[in-house]
Symmetry: C2
Subunit: 191 residues, 2 copies
DNA sequence: TCCAAAAAGCTAACCGTTAGTGTTACGTTC
DNA sequence: GAACGTAACACTAACGGTTAGCTTTTTGGA
């Protein structure tokens, strides 16, 4: 059975991190399209197959926080106080996520994503996955009592809010504007 | 200048159609992933480069109606009677599109799309393009007087309705349920 | 110390896609 | 109607992401 006593896991995590760091550095230095998988592997001093055993695709190298992002969304739903309403909690979380993405330090990464069709497409389908897990979290809350369709719809609207607001000149204001619409949509489904 | 008096255009269109037909037939017969681009080109008796001069990618072979779909959405907005409200027109159009996609004859194609991650991803980003053109059409209507963000948001919600409802057991009912939510969201933005 | 399994490596290929370079068929113009 | 420009198509060869198959190294536990 074994508890995987540490070293192995740590080494694996270190390899993964080294690959991700190297990739991001090279992408930012020379451009996403210019840098090949073989370049990243060579610079990180691993085999190409090793790289692909840690990351499912070239695009996945850029979106390392994927699962962290997903968790934050679901925890905003599952981790709220009893009887705390759903949408303000989600609005607060989306505000935080948008702030994080538009922070000065992350601007170059975001520019890179916008500049590459492959990365944009990848992020789009990432968001749909997130919407589905968010929908599951909402549907699991017994206090809400909405239909499956309503839950999935609201979840999509919420990730739409994230995507759309980031593209506006004033992202924080856009989050609020869109959430006014989402609140109305949610109210229209109250049982 | 030139009116491209016919034969050349007809031959080009015929080639394009032959490629599309061959591709769809092979995909349905043997499976999308199993059939390679070289197979399609050989069976349609054209060079691989010719195939790619007619279609931008392998996935595009499946979504031939792409632009037709886009036009129907925008025409639902621009072609409505004066003072006819926006959302009922859109709801009607989405109903028609969903009915078309879930028709018996098209079921195998839809199954193929659902079964292939590449095709799903392609369709997702197609929908985002459609949402953007729909948003532009909505924003261009002087009677509505909404913000850019509100227009883009509603456009996304509408294409979401299309995508979500197709996955439910009763698509037509789902369209109505989701549009109740969208109507509420839209009303919340009235100036 | 030795074993089983995980992790990493290497080679070679597959497949979608594109660049480079002709060649043919068509429409226009003189 | 002959010559010219160009759009459509073909052919070869490659590039880049990705995977399969197999070997080697590392690691944890017996």
């Amino acid at each position: 059975m074994t508890v995987e006593s540490g070293r192995r896991e740590r080494k694996k995590a270190a390899t993964r991190q080294k690959i991700a760091d190297t990739a991001l550095r090279l992408f930012l230095e020379r451009g996403y399209d210019t840098v090949g998988i073989r370049d990243v592997a060579a610079e990180a001093d691993v085999a190409v197959t090793t790289l692909f055993s840690h990351f499912a695709s070239k695009e996945a190298l850029v979106f390392e926080q994927d699962t962290a992002f997903e968790q934050r969304l679901t925890e905003a739903v599952t981790g709220r106080a009893p009887h705390e309403p759903l949408l303000p909690a989600l609005r607060h979380e989306i505000h935080a996520l948008v702030r994080h993405c538009t922070a000065d330090g992350n601007a170059p990464i975001w520019d890179m994503v916008v500049g590459s069709p492959a990365l944009r497409e990848y992020e789009e389908s990432m968001r749909l996955r997130h919407a589905e897990t968010l929908a599951a979290a909402i549907a699991a809350d017994p206090d809400l009592g909405r239909t499956t369709t309503a839950c999935r719809t609201i979840a999509r609207f919420v990730v739409d809010a994230y995507a759309l607001s980031r593209e506006t000149p004033d992202p924080q204001a856009a989050v609020d504007e869109i959430f006014e619409m989402i609140e109305a949509a949610w109210s229209a489904t109250s049982p």
